[in-house]
C-alpha cells in the first residue's frame, strides 16, 4: 500500500512541478496535441442507413441481404396522398396522381414507380389479353369510366390496403429506389427531390395532404435526427454545464479552464473518430455529450481541492500542486474503470454502440490527460481566486453528517430498509418489455414520425415482413401444388389481425386466369395445370412496360416468389409472436420445400434488442470482473474490492427495476446502459472506499469513525458530481432519437441510485459484523459471502433476459435436371446431405482396426457423439471419446465444426483432468495413428467443398453419380476428392482422396448401409486404404442411437470432464 502510494505521489509531485513551472510550454503542447487529433474532425460524415445498427455478422442482416440478392436490393419512398374531402377518384386529382407518377421517375436513383394510375390492369378482349394503365388522362374521362376503375381498384387485392385505402380516401405512390451506394449524398438527394414533388402537389391542390414515408425516409431521418441533436443538444449541454460550474466552483478561471478541458477532450475524441473513418449516427453522436459530462468530474475534483487549499491560506501554485498530488490516483482509477465500462460496449452486436464506446473511451482518456496536465498549467497562468465559503455547502455538509450518524448507529435498520428497497426493485426487472418499432425511435419533432404514423393510420403500414417462398425446383413456381400452398399462405396471412396487406404472386396468377376466361369471376382461381400457369405468366410478362416487370417478385430462374406482408405499428413482442406463427404455419401447413424464414428490416429490428442484450451479457460480466480486479489492486484489499461489487452492480439492476415499474418498454438502449453506467457509478464507490480505507489504515480509526471520515471528506463532492452527471445525462433525454433519450434517462436514474446506495447501503454493509477489532477477519469473510451471492443473484437476473435464438432452416434447391456439372454436382451432394438432416443427435460406438503393410493389426475403440446444428453456416458438434488403448481411455476430443474457418477443438486429458484448446490446422495428419485424417471424419458439411459432377457409373448393384469435390477450407491435405453417390438412397459409397500433388492417396469404401428410424442411413463399416503406404484402417460401427437426448450443454468444453 504505502510503497505504491509513495510511487504515485512521486509521479504526481513531478507532474505538479513541471506543469506549474513551464506552464506556457505545457499549454502549447496540449494545444498542439488537440489540434493534431482534432483535425480529424474534417473526415466526419453522417451515415444514413438503418443497416448501421446491425453488425455484418448479424444473422438477420445476412438473411435479408441474401433475400435482396435474389430479388432486387432497393429502398423506397412512399407518397401518401389524401384530399381535403371526398375520395381520390376525382378526375382532377387522379390526373394529378398521374403527373406525380410520371414525375416521380425523375427522383434520383428511381427504378420503379407504382401507383393506382399506372397499375397494370389486365382484362380479356376476346382471346387476347389486354394490359393497360388503370387510369390514363383521367381529367378528360367520363364519370362512368372513373366509377368502373374505382371498382376495379377496390377489388384488387394487390392494391387495397397498399396503394389505395378501402374507403378510397387515401392513395399512395410508391417509388422504388436503387442506390449505387457510393456516396452519402445519395439519400438526401432523393429525399430532397421527393419533398420538392410533395410541395408541388400541395400547391396544385390546396387542402391536399401529402406525407412521405418509406425506407429512404427512415434512413434520412436517422441522419437528420443526428444533426438535430448535434445542433440542439450539444449547445444546450454546454450552457447547462457553464451554469452548473459557475454555481459549484464560483471561480471564473476554474470554469473557463474546465470548459476548455471538456471542449478539447470532445474535439480530440471526435478527431480520432474521424481518422478512424467512423460515420456519425444518432447513437455515437452522443459521445461528446457523455465525454463533456464525465470530463468535468476530473477537473472539478482538482479544482475543488485547489480552491479548498487556497481558502486555507495556501498560495496558488502550491495549492495546485497539492491538489494534483491528492487527486491523481483516484482520478486515474475512476477514468480507468469508466474506460473499461465503455470499452465493453465492443461486445454489442450493433456497431454504433461499439463506436460510441470507443469514441467515449478515447475522450475520457483525453479528459484525464488534459485535466492533470493542461488544467494545472492553465490555472497557474490565470488569476485564480478562492471564493468565500458559502452557506449552502455547509448546510449540505450538515445533512450528510447526520446521515453518517444514522448509518453508523442504526446500521441494521438502514441495511434492512435499503436492502429491501433494492431487492424489491430488482424483483421488478423481469417485467421489462423490449420494444423496437423503428418509427417510434424518433420523436414528433422529426417529420418522418408524423408522416409514417399518419400513413399507417390512413393507408398502409411501414413494417414489411418478407418471405422468399421456395418452389421445389427451377420453374417450379407454376406447379399447382406450389401455387395452392402460396395462395393458402396469403389467405392465412390476410386472416391475421396485424396484417394490413399481403402481396402474393398467387393473386396475379388468379387474376390472369380470370382474364383468360373472359373476365368471368368464377374463374378467379388458380389454374389447374402447370403449363397453363407458366403460359399465363409468360404472356403477362411480355405485355408489361419497362420498370413494371415481376423481377422484384419472382427469382430469375423462377424457383421462388416473394410474399410481402405489411404490418401496422404494433409492439415488437407481437411482431415476434406473429413471425413465430407464420413460421409455424409454413412448417406445418405447406409442402416441406416451401418452408422459409421471414426477413426484412422489421424482422431485423424485432430481434435487435435481444441480440444486443445477448452479445452484451458477456461484456458486462467481463467488465464487472475487470473493474472488481482494478478495485482490488487499487484499494489493495481483496475483501473491500469484492464488496465493491454490490454498490457497483446493484444500482444498475435497480435502475431497470424502476424503469419496469414506471415505463416498462425499453429499446436497444437497455443492452448498453449497464455498460455505460457501470463505469460511472463505480466512481462514487472508489472515492468513498478510498477515503474509508485511508481512515482505517493511516488514521487507525474504527469503522464508524472511518465512515464518518468518508462522509466528511467526500460526501459533498459526491453529491455535487452526481448532480452534474445527472444533469448532463438528463440532457440526453431531450434527444429527438428515442434510444438516446432512454439511455440518458436510464443512466441518470442509475447515477442517482448509485449515490443513494453509496450513502446508505454501502456504509451499512461496511458496518456489518462490527463488534470489536479482533473479529475483523470473520466479518470480512461474511461480506465476501454476501458480495458473491449478490453478484450471482444479479447474474441470474440478467440471464433471465437472455432469449432463445430462433432456429432457422432453409430447404434445398434442387437442380437435379441441371446440365451444368457444377450445379448438378452440388445438387447431388446437397441431396445426400439433406437425406441425413433431422437426426438431432446421435451416439455410436466403433472399433478401429489398424493394419500395416505386413498385415499386423492393432485396435482402438471409441465413441462418437454428434449434435446436429441446423444452421447451414455452422457445422455439427461432436465429441470423440476413447475407450482403448487403455492408456488413453477417457481422452476426449470436442469439435465445433465451422464451414470455412478453422474448427474450434478442445482435447480433454483425463490424467490431468485438463481441457486444452488445440490447433485445428492439423486436419490432414493421421488421426490416432490411423489412415483416417481428422478431416475425413468431420469435413462432411456441404459448404466445405466446391462440387463438379463428373459422370454416372455402376457401383455394385447400384448406379452412382461420381462427383468431384474440392476443399474450400484452409489446411486440407487434399487437392480434390471423388465421391460416388448412389441414385437410390443418395448415400456416399466410395471416396477417392488425392494428395496435394494430385496423386491418388487413399480410397474409402462405405459399406453395410443400414437405415435407422426409417430415415437416416449410416454405413456400418468404413474401409480406408492408403495406396501409397499399403496400410489400411477399418471402422466398424455398432448400433447408432439417435435422438439420445443430448443437448448443447453436452458439447461445451466444460462438459468434457463428465463425458465418460
Amino acid at each position: 500500500m504505502t510503497s505504491k502510494g509513495k510511487q504515485s505521489d512521486g509521479t504526481a509531485r513531478a507532474l505538479g512541478l513541471f506543469t506549474t513551472t513551464r506552464p506556457w510550454l505545457v499549454v502549447l503542447l496540449a494545444l498542439a496535441v488537440m489540434a493534431a487529433a482534432g483535425s480529424g474532425v474534417r473526415f466526419l460524415e453522417f451515415s444514413n442507413n438503418y443497416r448501421v445498427f446491425f453488425s455484418p455478422e448479424n444473422p438477420d442482416l445476412v438473411a435479408f441481404d441474401e433475400f435482396q440478392n435474389t430479388y432486387t436490393k432497393n429502398d423506397n419512398v412512399m407518397f401518401v396522398v389524401q384530399p381535403a374531402e371526398g375520395d381520390v377518384f376525382d378526375p382532377e386529382l387522379l390526373e394529378g396522381i398521374e403527373w406525380l407518377t410520371a414525375e416521380a421517375w425523375r427522383i434520383p436513383f428511381a427504378i420503379r414507380v407504382d401507383s393506382i394510375t399506372n397499375f397494370q390492369h389486365s382484362w380479356a378482349d376476346g382471346d387476347d389479353l389486354t394490359v393497360e394503365d388503370l387510369a390514363r388522362n383521367a381529367a378528360s374521362r367520363t364519370s362512368a369510366y372513373l366509377a368502373e376503375r374505382r371498382d376495379v381498384a377496390l377489388a384488387e387485392p394487390l392494391l387495397v390496403g397498399n396503394l389505395i385505402a378501402p374507403d378510397a380516401r387515401t392513395t399512395g405512390v410508391n417509388v422504388t429506389l436503387q442506390y449505387p451506394e457510393e456516396s452519402l449524398a445519395e439519400v438526401p438527394a432523393a429525399v430532397g427531390h421527393a419533398r420538392d414533388l410533395a410541395d408541388q402537389m400541395r400547391q396544385r391542390f390546396p387542402g391536399l395532404r401529402v406525407g412521405l414515408t418509406g425506407v429512404s425516409m427512415l434512413n434520412n431521418a436517422f441522419a437528420e435526427a443526428g444533426q438535430t441533436d448535434a445542433t440542439t443538444l450539444m449547445p444546450g449541454m454546454f450552457l447547462a454545464l457553464v451554469v452548473l460550474m459557475t454555481v459549484v466552483l464560483r471561480s471564473a478561471a476554474g470554469t473557463i479552464g474546465t470548459l476548455l478541458v471538456i471542449a478539447f477532450s470532445s474535439l480530440t475524441a471526435l478527431g480520432v473518430a474521424g481518422y478512424l473513418g467512423i460515420k456519425l449516427n444518432p447513437i455515437n453522436l452522443t459521445a461528446p455529450v457523455i465525454i463533456m459530462t464525465l470530463g468535468i468530474a476530473d477537473s472539478v475534483h482538482l479544482l475543488v481541492s485547489a480552491l479548498h487549499k487556497m481558502r486555507d491560506g495556501a498560495d496558488k501554485i502550491s495549492a495546485i500542486r497539492e491538489a494534483l498530488r491528492i487527486n491523481l490516483l483516484p482520478v486515474a482509477i475512476t477514468s480507468v474503470t469508466t474506460v473499461i465500462g465503455f470499452l465493453s460496449l465492443n461486445f454489442s452486436d450493433a456497431p454504433p454502440f461499439r463506436e460510441l464506446g470507443n469514441i467515449t473511451a478515447v475522450g475520457i482518456t483525453a479528459a484525464l490527460g488534459y485535466s492533470v496536465v493542461f488544467l494545472p498549467a492553465f490555472l497557474s497562468l490565470t488569476p485564480l481566486r478562492a471564493p468565500k465559503r458559502v452557506d449552502s455547502g455547509a448546510r449540505l455538509h450538515g445533512v450528510l453528517m447526520r446521515m453518517a450518524d444514522l448509518v453508523t448507529t442504526r446500521h441494521r435498520l438502514v441495511l434492512a430498509v435499503s436492502g429491501t428497497i433494492a431487492i424489491v426493485l430488482i424483483a421488478w426487472l423481469p417485467a421489462i418489455q423490449l420494444e423496437d418499432q423503428f418509427v417510434k425511435y424518433f420523436d414528433h419533432r422529426v417529420d418522418f414520425r408524423g408522416d409514417a404514423e399518419w400513413g399507417m393510420e390512413n393507408l398502409t403500414g411501414i413494417y414489411l415482413i418478407e418471405f422468399s417462398v421456395p418452389a421445389e425446383s427451377a420453374e417450379g413456381i407454376s406447379e399447382p401444388a406450389y401455387l395452392d400452398g402460396l395462395d393458402r399462405f396469403a389467405s392465412w396471412l390476410r386472416t391475421q389481425p396485424e396484417v394490413d396487406h399481403v402481396y402474393s404472386y398467387s393473386d396475379v396468377i388468379k387474376r390472369l386466369n380470370r382474364n383468360m376466361h373472359g373476365d368471368s369471376d368464377e374463374w378467379y382461381a388458380l389454374p389447374a395445370e402447370r403449363d397453363l400457369a407458366a403460359q399465363y405468366l409468360l404472356l403477362y410478362e411480355l405485355s408489361l412496360p419497362y420498370g413494371l416487370d415481376l423481377n422484384d417478385r419472382i427469382s430469375i430462374d423462377k424457383s421462388s416468389t416473394r410474399v410481402t406482408a405489411t404490418l401496422s405499428g404494433m409492439p415488437t413482442s407481437e411482431v415476434r409472436a406473429f413471425l413465430d406463427r407464420a413460421q409455424l404455419w409454413l412448417g406445418s401447413e405447406a409442402p416441406d420445400y416451401m418452408y422459409t424464414a421471414p426477413t426484412g428490416a422489421a424482422v431485423m429490428f424485432a430481434y435487435i434488442s435481444q441480440r444486443n442484450i445477448e452479445s452484451m451479457l458477456g461484456g458486462n460480466v467481463i467488465a464487472i470482473i475487470l473493474i472488481a480486479g482494478v478495485m482490488m489492486i487499487a484499494l489493495r484489499s481483496f475483501a473491500i474490492g469484492a464488496l465493491s461489487l454490490i454498490p457497483n452492480a446493484v444500482p444498475i439492476l435497480m435502475t431497470f427495476g424502476v424503469w419496469a415499474l414506471l415505463v416498462r418498454e425499453v429499446g436497444m438502449a437497455a443492452a448498453t446502459v449497464s455498460a455505460t453506467s457501470l463505469g460511472i457509478v463505480v466512481d462514487d464507490t472508489v472515492h468513498f472506499l478510498t477515503k474509508y480505507l485511508r481512515a482505517r489504515r493511516e488514521e487507525q480509526l474504527d469503522r464508524p469513525e472511518a465512515i464518518r471520515y468518508a462522509f466528511d471528506t467526500v460526501g459533498t463532492a459526491l453529491v455535487s458530481t452526481t448532480v452534474i452527471l445527472a444533469f448532463g445525462f438528463a440532457v440526453l433525454a431531450f434527444s429527438t432519437f428515442r434510444i438516446n433519450a432512454q439511455m440518458g434517462l436510464l443512466t441518470t436514474i442509475a447515477i442517482v441510485l448509485a449515490l443513494a446506495v453509496d450513502l446508505f447501503l454501502l456504509p451499512a454493509l461496511l458496518m456489518v459484523g462490527h463488534r470489536s477489532r479482533s473479529t475483523e477477519i470473520d466479518s470480512m469473510k461474511l461480506q465476501l459471502g454476501k458480495a458473491t451471492s449478490v453478484l450471482l443473484a444479479g447474474l441470474i437476473g440478467l440471464a433471465a433476459f437472455s432469449p432463445t435464438a430462433m432456429a432457422q432452416t432453409t430447404s434445398p434447391a434442387s437442380y437435379l435436371e441441371e446440365v451444368d456439372p457444377v450445379k448438378k454436382g452440388r445438387a447431388i451432394a446437397a441431396r445426400s446431405d439433406f437425406s441425413d438432416r433431422g437426426f438431432s443427435d446421435s451416439i455410436v460406438a466403433l472399433k478401429m482396426l489398424l493394419r500395416n503393410a505386413a498385415g499386423a493389426e492393432s485396435t482402438r475403440e471409441l465413441v462418437i457423439r454428434t449434435l446436429e446444428v441446423i444452421d447451414e453456416d455452422l457445422g455439427d458438434r461432436s465429441v470423440v471419446i476413447f475407450d482403448s488403448p487403455r492408456d488413453i481411455e477417457g481422452t476426449a476430443l470436442l469439435s465445433h465444426a465451422k464451414i470455412l474457418d478453422p474448427d474450434d477443438q478442445w482435447l480433454y486429458l483425463p490424467a490431468l483432468k485438463r481441457v486444452k484448446r488445440i490447433s485445428s490446422v492439423n486436419k490432414s495428419g493421421p488421426f490416432v495413428g490411423s489412415e483416417f485424417a481428422f478431416e475425413d471424419f468431420t469435413a462432411l458439411e456441404l459448404g466445405k467443398y466446391d462440387y463438379r459432377w463428373l459422370r454416372e457409373e455402376a457401383c455394385g448393384d447400384l448406379v452412382c453419380d461420381v462427383v468431384e469435390r474440392t476443399p474450400r477450407y484452409e489446411h486440407s491435405g487434399y487437392s480434390r476428392q471423388e465421391s460416388w453417390v448412389d441414385q437410390r438412397d443418395f448415400q456416399v459409397r466410395r471416396v477417392d482422396f488425392y494428395d496435394r500433388r494430385g496423386d491418388l492417396l487413399k480410397t474409402l469404401e462405405l459399406v453395410d448401409y443400414r437405415q435407422y428410424d426409417g430415415s437416416f442411413w449410416r454405413p456400418q463399416r468404413m474401409e480406408m486404404r492408403n495406396h501409397q503406404t499399403g496400410k489400411s484402417t477399418d471402422l466398424v460401427y455398432g448400433d447408432y442411437e439417435f435422438d439420445a437426448g443430448l443437448g448443447d450443454r453436452d458439447f461445451e468444453r466444460g462438459a468434457l470432464e463428465r463425458a465418460r
Binding site: 445477448e614 451479457l617 458477456g618 460480466v621 472488481a628 480486479g629 489492486i633 489493495r636 484489499s637 481483496f638 475483501a639 469484492a642 477477519i777 469473510k781 465476501l784 459471502g785 458473491t788 450471482l792 447474474l795 440471464a799 437472455s802 451416439i843 460406438a845 489398424l850 500395416n852 492393432s858 465413441v863 475407450d883 482403448s884 488403448p885 487403455r886 492408456d887 481411455e889 477417457g890 478453422p902 474450434d904 490431468l912 483432468k913 485438463r914 481441457v915 486444452k916 484448446r917 488445440i918 490447433s919 490446422v921 492439423n922 490432414s924 495428419g925 493421421p926 490416432v928 495413428g929 489446411h971 437426448g1045 450443454r1049 461445451e1052 468444453r1053 466444460g1054 462438459a1055 463428465r1058 465418460r1060
Partner: protein, 406 residues
C-alpha cells in the same frame, strides 16, 4: 460427507453390479464401469545424496489406481470413485493412499452440482500451473505439480451461452505431501506432521471461476479465498534439545484473483496466466506468458512442437516457496503419430537471475494395447546455491515406468 453419501452409494452400486453382468462393455452409454492402471516404476538417482540420511541408488515402487464409475441411463447422475495407492521400496512417506475422486454429480440442463472429492485443473501454461489452485499437490509423486490430491468440495457449475460459472465450497484443507527425511527430492530436515497456520486453521475455502471462449480466445477468470495450497517452511527445535532441529510447513490464508487466456491462432497457441495474491507476504502478482507452435507433419507424419514461456513472480521471501521467480522455459515435443503413439518431450526451465537449470526429458511409447513404457529423466544442472532448486541439486534421476491399463 461420507456418512450422508455412503449407504445410498452402496445401494446403487449393488444394483449396478447386477446390471454390469447383463451388459458388459456398455462402457460409455450408462451403467457401471471400471478402468484404471497398475504401474511399476524404478527410479535411479544419478548422484550421491546431499544428506547422509537420504538413500542412494535405485528406488522401486508400485502404483495402483482403479476407477469405478456409474452413471444412470438418463446421464443425469454420475458417481465416480478413484482411489490411488503407491507402495515405495525406500521412502515410507512415498507409500501413501489417496482418494483422487469420490463424488456424485447431478446435471440438469445448465446446472451441474458435484459433491465429494474431486480433482480440478485450471490453466493453459505448460511449465507452471500458476492458476491451478483448487487441489493440493501430491508432491511425493512428482515434482512437476501435475499429480494432485483429491479435494472435498461442493461445486455448482452453471453453463450459459455467455460462459460458465463455477462456484466451489472447498471442504477440508490438505497439506502438501513431502518425502521423508530418508527420501530423495525432499527437505534436508525432518518435517513435523502438524503444519503451522498463522491465521488459524480453516477447513472451508471458497472459489468462483468464470470461463468462456470467444472466437479464438479461451478465457478463465477466478477468485479464490482460503488456505494457500503453497507452503513456506520454518525451522522448529527438535523433539529434544539434543536432536536435530525440524522443519514445519506454514500455510497462510490468502485471497487471490487470476486470469488464464489462450489465443489459438492456426498453429500458434499464445498463452497467459496471471494472478494477484494477498495474504502471503506482501501482496504480489505472478504471471506465465508463452507461446506454443506446432510444425504439423514436420517429418512424414510426425508433428514437432516448439514451446517457450516466461515466468515472473513478485512474491517476497516471507511468502511460500517457489522455484519460478524470473525464469524462461524452452521445450520441444515430438509426436510420431504412429500406431504406438510414440512421443518425446524435452524442456528446461532456466533461472534468468543465476542460470540454474531444471531440465526434463521424457519418452513414451505403447507396447501393446494395454502396456505402456515411459522413460523420464530430470536433471538439475548449474544450480546456484542460493536458488530454491539447490535442495534438489544432487537429485537428478532417471525413471522407468511400465503401466498396465485395464
Amino acid at each position: 460427507m461420507n456418512l450422508v453419501l455412503g449407504p445410498r452409494l452402496g445401494l446403487r452400486l449393488g444394483a449396478v453390479a447386477a446390471f454390469a453382468v447383463v451388459a458388459p462393455g456398455a462402457a460409455l452409454a450408462q451403467g457401471f464401469d471400471v478402468a484404471g492402471f497398475l504401474a511399476g516404476e524404478a527410479r535411479a538417482f544419478l548422484e550421491e545424496p546431499a544428506s547422509t540420511s537420504q538413500f542412494n541408488g535405485v528406488q522401486a515402487s508400485l502404483a495402483f489406481q482403479p476407477e469405478f464409475r456409474f452413471r444412470t441411463s438418463d446421464r443425469r447422475h454420475q458417481f465416480r470413485v478413484t482411489p490411488f495407492v503407491r507402495v515405495d521400496s525406500r521412502d515410507s512417506e512415498r507409500t501413501h493412499f489417496d482418494l483422487r475422486e469420490a463424488f456424485w454429480r447431478v446435471t440438469t440442463g445448465d446446472v451441474e452440482v458435484l459433491v465429494g472429492m474431486n480433482t480440478v485443473f485450471w490453466g493453459v501454461a505448460e511449465s507452471r500451473h500458476l492458476v491451478d489452485v483448487i487441489n493440493q499437490i501430491d508432491f511425493v509423486e512428482d515434482v512437476d505439480g501435475e499429480d494432485k490430491l483429491g479435494q472435498g468440495m461442493i461445486q455448482v457449475g452453471w453453463q450459459r451461452d455467455w460462459g460458465r460459472l463455477d462456484g466451489f465450497v472447498l471442504l477440508g484443507f490438505r497439506q502438501m505431501t513431502l518425502p521423508g527425511a530418508d527420501g530423495r527430492l525432499g527437505l534436508p530436515l525432518k518435517v513435523v506432521d502438524e503444519a503451522y497456520y498463522p491465521d488459524g486453521r480453516r477447513d472451508v475455502d471458497f472459489a468462483l471461476r468464470y470461463s468462456h471462449y470467444i472466437g479464438d480466445f479461451d478465457l478463465g477468470v477466478h477468485v479464490f479465498r482460503g488456505t494457500n495450497r503453497e507452503a513456506s517452511f520454518r525451522v522448529v527445535p527438535g523433539e529434544r534439545p539434543d536432536r536435530m532441529p525440524r522443519t514445519q510447513a506454514v500455510y497462510r490464508e490468502i485471497s487471490q484473483v487470476g486470469v488464464d487466456v489462450q489465443w489459438t491462432q492456426n498453429a500458434w497457441l499464445w498463452k497467459f496466466e496471471g494472478l494477484v495474491r494477498e495474504g502471503d507476504g506482501r501482496t504480489f502478482g505472478a504471471a506465465v506468458a508463452g507461446v506454443e507452435y506446432t510444425l504439423f507433419q514436420a517429418f512424414g507424419s510426425a508433428d514437432l512442437g516448439l514451446l517457450t514461456e516466461f515466468l515472473v513472480d513478485g512474491r517476497d521471501d516471507s511468502a511460500a516457496v517457489t522455484l519460478f521467480d524470473r525464469d524462461i522455459f524452452v521445450g520441444t515435443r515430438l509426436a510420431l503419430n504412429d500406431v504406438w503413439d510414440t512421443q518425446a518431450l524435452a524442456g528446461a526451465v532456466v533461472d534468468l537471475r543465476d542460470g540454474s537449470i531444471a531440465a526434463r526429458l521424457e519418452v513414451e511409447r505403447r507396447i501393446s494395447n494395454r502396456l505402456k513404457l515411459e522413460v523420464d529423466g530430470r536433471f538439475f544442472v548449474n544450480v546456484a546455491s542460493t536458488n530454491n532448486l539447490a535442495l534438489f541439486r544432487q537429485d537428478s534421476f532417471l525413471n522407468l515406468r511400465v503401466a498396465y491399463g485395464f
